[in-house]
Structures are given as C-alpha cells and as structure tokens.
C-alpha cells in the first residue's frame, strides 16, 4: 500500500509543477522580452533569452512615455472605486444578513442580476449616459463605473461572512452597551476581516485592470489609466514591445502579490459568497 502512495505523490508533484510552469510561462516571456534591446526584438526567429540583458529598459520606460501619470490615474480610480464600493456594500451586506424585511429578496435579486451585467455589454449605454451627464473624460466616471460593477461581488462575499457569524456574539456586545454600530465595529467587522480584505483587494484589482470603459470614456492622455496607455507602445508607427512589457510588469507584479495575499481567503469567500 505504501509504494503506490509514494508514486502518486511524485506524479502529482510533477504534474503540479508542470502546470505551474504553463501558467507562469507567458509572464516569464513578458519578463524576458522587457529585457531585450530593441534590435533583438526584430530578429527572426526570435531568441529565447536576451543576448544582451538590458535592465535599463525598466529605467528608460519612464522617459519613453508618461507612465507615471497613467499609474497615478489607475491608482486614483482603483482606490476611490474600492472606497465607494466598500461604503455601499458593507451596510447592505450587513443589513441583509441580519434582518428579514420586505424587499430583501428583491434587493438580493437586484444584486444577482447586476452581477450578470458586464461593463462591456453596457458600454454604449454607459458612454451615452456619461455624455448626457457631461462626465466623459473624467476620473469620476471611471470611479463610479468600477464601483458599481464590483458591488455585487462584494455584497455577496460580505453577506456570506456576516451570515456565518452567530448573532449571539453581537448581542453580547450590544447588551454591554456597545450600541448597534458599536457591536458591528467591535465584533462583527474584526471577525469578517478576511471577507472585507478579499472584497477590497478584489475590487481594487478589477478596477486596476478595467479596460473597455476607460478606453471609451477617456480622451486626454493625462486621464488614461495604464491599461489604455499600454497598447500605444506598439502602433503602426512604432514598436516598443520591450517598453510595453516592462510597463505591463510594473502593472502586474504588485497586484499579483496582493492577490496571492488573499488566496487562502478567496477559497472561503467563494464558498461562502457564491456557492452557498
């Protein structure tokens, strides 16, 4: 019985690491490309490794394009959208988890239906609305759109966490004179921290990565987030793949680290939030 078990582990490990390699390969290629000097990029067939490792690409890219401005836009939009989402989702998730009231079902259905909408499907409507509100080419438009479309996921995940906390815990704090808000702040929120962190990171990342609405709504270069700015490194007039991927890595690495950080909560969150 012991031998097959060991063989199984060896096999699993091998398959596991192969899978890991497959998932990381494109990003490894991104990294290698970002380190090539321009003349190596036009070689055919392309080389596997840079013959000359041009680390300075990562310094030069800041001068090649105003990416610092794009990063600031992306950061502003993602951070503000996350705050707005949280401010809306926390009370809604808490209230629906704790109370039964008329309209509760309708509200949860509204949230579920909203989850079915994607910015892509509505982009024409969003564009027309922003024109009507005179909000085209503003960061406010991007903040609102990102906040709204991430709201359903946050409500579901927080709703799941709040529902799983026994109300007796809160009641005890309430009887100690903490008040409803106090009980929420001192008991419920700390216990649901993993859910809150998951919601925050998830919203931040999807706002950081949002593309189509930003592409449609923004016009001036200083209001473009990274996703909209990056493709302009490769146009019919210029091809700077090395800068394109250097910037991509600058955009990707921080959020991957953030995401790895919530990985363990994500599994719990997916179980509590959507599967339940």
């Amino acid at each position: 019985m012991k031998r097959p078990v060991r063989l199984r582990v060896v096999l699993l490990t091998a398959v596991g690491w192969l899978v890991a390699l497959a998932f990381i390969l494109p990003y490894l290629q991104m990294f290698l490309t970002s380190l090539k000097p321009e003349r190596e990029l036009t070689k055919s067939p392309g080389g596997y490794l840079p013959t000359h490792w041009k680390w300075s690409n990562f310094a030069d890219v800041w001068d090649a394009a105003p990416i610092w401005t794009n990063i600031r836009v992306s950061l502003t939009v993602a951070a503000a959208a996350t705050l707005v989402t949280l401010a809306c989702a926390l009370p809604a998730a808490y209230y629906t988890a704790r109370n039964r009231f008329r309209g509760r079902g309708a509200f949860l259905l509204l949230v579920l239906v909203t989850q079915m909408f994607a910015p892509t499907a509505l982009v024409i409507g969003i564009y027309r609305e922003m024109v009507a509100l005179n909000l085209t080419d503003t960061l406010l438009a991007l903040i609102l759109v990102n906040a709204a479309f991430n709201l359903p996921f946050c409500i579901w995940i927080l709703h799941g966490y709040f529902s799983s906390i026994p109300r007796e815990l809160e009641e005890a704090a309430f009887l100690d004179g903490a008040g409803r808000i106090g009980a929420l702040a001192r008991v419920t929120l700390p216990i649901s921290m993993p859910g809150v962190v998951t919601a925050v990171v998830y919203t931040f990342i999807s706002a950081w990565n949002e593309y189509i609405v930003a592409l449609t709504v923004t016009a001036s270069p200083d209001r473009r987030p990274l996703t909209v700015a990056i493709p302009s490194f490769v146009t019919q007039y210029q091809e700077h793949w090395q800068y394109l991927f250097a910037t991509s890595l600058i955009a990707i690495v921080p959020v991957v680290i953030l995401f790895v950080f919530i990985e363990r909560y994500l599994i719990g969150g997916l179980t509590a939030g959507s599967v339940k």
Partner: protein, 333 residues
C-alpha cells in the same frame, strides 16, 4: 443564510397582523419592548430603515447599471448623428440596419461557437485543475499561486503577451515549433481567421481557468472526507467514487463557475481587441468587438446600441436556458 432570520427576539407573541407596520418584520429593530400600536412617524421610520442601509447600493446600481440599460435601449430606437446629436426617433430602423449587415449572422454564430468552445474546455480543464490543487503534494501552495497569476493580471496585458508570442516574425511559438521541426517556416498565426480564432479561444481559456478552478476547488473542500471513507468501505473504486460522489456534490460549484464563465466569455472584449482587432475585416469579430466598431469606427451609435441590446438578449437567453437545463432552483437556494 440560515441565521439571517431575525425573528428570534421579541417575536414570541407577534402582535395581530393588522397592527404590524407594513414593512417591518419582528426583530428588524432591536427595541426590546414593542408597543402594540406604533405611532405614525415611528412606523414610517421603521419602513425606511432598510433604505438607510441599502440606499447607497441601490443608488449606485440605479445610476451606473440601470440607467445605461435604459439609455442603451432608448439609443437603439433613435437616430443619432455621427457627432452624437440625437436627431429623433427611428423606430426599428437601427435593428433592420444591423440585421442587414453582411457580417451580422456570421458574427453572432462565431460568438456562440466562441462561448461554447471556451466554456466547455475551461470547465473540463478546471475540473482536473481543481482536483490537482486540492490534492496533497509538496509545493501545492506555490502551484496555487501561479494558477492565480492570470486572474490577477490584466486580461489585456495577457492578451498582448500572447500576441507577441504568436508574432509571425520573432514570436516564441514559431521559434519553438521551428526548433522542434513541427513547421518549416514561420506561420503568421493571427492573420488567418481560423487559426487566430483558435489561439484566441485558448487565451480566453487561459484567463478563465483560475477563477473556475478556484470555484471547483472551493466546492471540493466542502465535500467531507468520510463520504469517501464510506464509499471505500462499500468497495467503490476511484472512478466510481468520482462519478458517484464528487461530480454530483460539485454540481452547485460547476453551475456557478460555468454561468459566470459564460457571461465573462460572452463579454470578453480585450482578448480579440488586442490580438486581431476582430480582423481581417470582420473575420474574427464577436458581438462585443463588432458593436464597438459600429459605434466608434462607423460612428453609428444607434445601430451599435441595437447590437448591444441583441448581445444582451443573447446572454440572457443562454443563461436562462442553461439554468433551466440544469434545474438550478433545486441545486442552489
């Protein structure tokens, strides 16, 4: 959801129904002693409490999600100049123009194939991947982290690196295939509609896998170990245990993962936009890129809105059919 019932306190002897405030339910407010006939302001206050908590969410959804839906439908029935000025109603003109587009039927058909192909392959692979990520082996953590990467990374950037790897002239894919003698001269993968479509479907699978696999993984972790114990005692082999226990118990997870995947893949825009731009011509367009081109290249917002409405109807029909086929009400409450 179970313990969300809030009737536990103070509802032992509910007041007669006629005396209950309309919107309030026992326990909704934490006041311990309920007067049998609440005064009018209090009644209104209690009816409005939910609005206080849910208001911000409702407002945000109404302004940013529902308004565009209405605006989209309205726009699809209007005649709009290329500079964005509304020139009045146009009846169903935009729709008939849309249906008359040479590419329309092909685009819709391609979109359905695209969704079906990507979702089926994604689900099959993620069933295996979820199982792998749930198994015990050294380094499982790291493998899980790498699987997450395409989820965290921008889809646009992932699509761009694939575009570069598929480059005709100096891409990695051609280099590897040349070195392995699979091809004897570089192939311009993204210039041929069929090959381009297959590669883009692969990229769509690649970026879908993390989410679906993690939902499957989450589902697997809810299956208690002793169910398998019992099956083993009964003499069921690994295969029978998988089809008899794992798959049926995974149904809710599979449902959620595939529905969300259908919606995402249907609306997937950056992959095609970055890799082929829907070209050559309209040969690799799906409904979303087609819609975008009508709006911002042809400057025909009205017709593009019609395309968006059709696109939305397609998603709705597909999800409803799917839910019906899978009898979702029995599975997920």
């Amino acid at each position: 959801m179970r313990d969300a019932t809030s009737g536990a306190r103070g509802s032992g002897a509910p007041p007669p129904r006629s005396l209950q405030p309309r919107a309030a339910v026992p326990g909704a407010s934490p006041s311990p002693a309920r007067p049998s006939g609440p005064s009018r302001p209090r009644r209104i206050g209690r009816a409005l409490t939910p609005l206080l908590w849910l208001g911000p969410s409702i407002a945000l959804i109404a302004v940013v999600v529902l308004w565009p839906v209405v605006e989209m439908v309205r726009t699809s029935l209007q005649k709009i100049s290329s500079s964005g000025v509304t020139l009045g109603g146009s009846g169903s003109r935009n729709y008939s123009d849309l249906f008359d587009e040479d590419a329309f039927l092909a685009v819709v058909g391609r979109t359905l194939l695209w969704v079906a192909g990507v979702v089926v392959v994604t689900m099959l692979l993620s069933l295996a991947l979820g199982q792998l990520l749930n198994a015990r082996f050294p380094g499982r953590r790291v493998v899980r982290w790498t699987v997450i990467v395409p989820w965290a990374a921008s889809v646009l950037m992932t699509a761009l690196i694939w575009k570069w790897m598929l480059d005709n002239y100096s891409g990695l894919v051609n280099r590897v295939l040349l070195d392995l003698n699979v091809i004897d001269q570089p192939v311009n993968w993204l210039a041929h509609p069929h090959q381009a479509m297959l590669w883009m479907m692969w990229v769509a699978v690649f970026v879908s896998l993390p989410f679906t696999s993690f939902v499957i993984l989450a589902g697997l972790q809810t299956i208690p170990e002793d169910v398998y114990e019992a099956a083993r005692v009964d003499g069921a082999g690994a295969v029978r245990a998988y089809f008899g226990i794992t798959l049926p118990l995974l149904r809710p997870a599979i449902l959620i993962a595939s529905i969300i995947n259908v919606i995402n893949v249907f609306n997937s825009f950056p992959i095609i936009w970055a890799m082929t731009g829907g070209g050559p011509g309209h040969a690799t367009d799906t409904t979303t890129t087609f819609m975008y081109k009508i709006a911002f290249y042809d400057q025909n917002v009205g017709e593009s809105a019609a395309m968006a409405v059709v696109n939305f109807a397609l998603i709705l029909v597909m999800v409803l059919l799917y839910l019906r086929a899978s009898r979702w009400r029995e599975e997920v409450r």
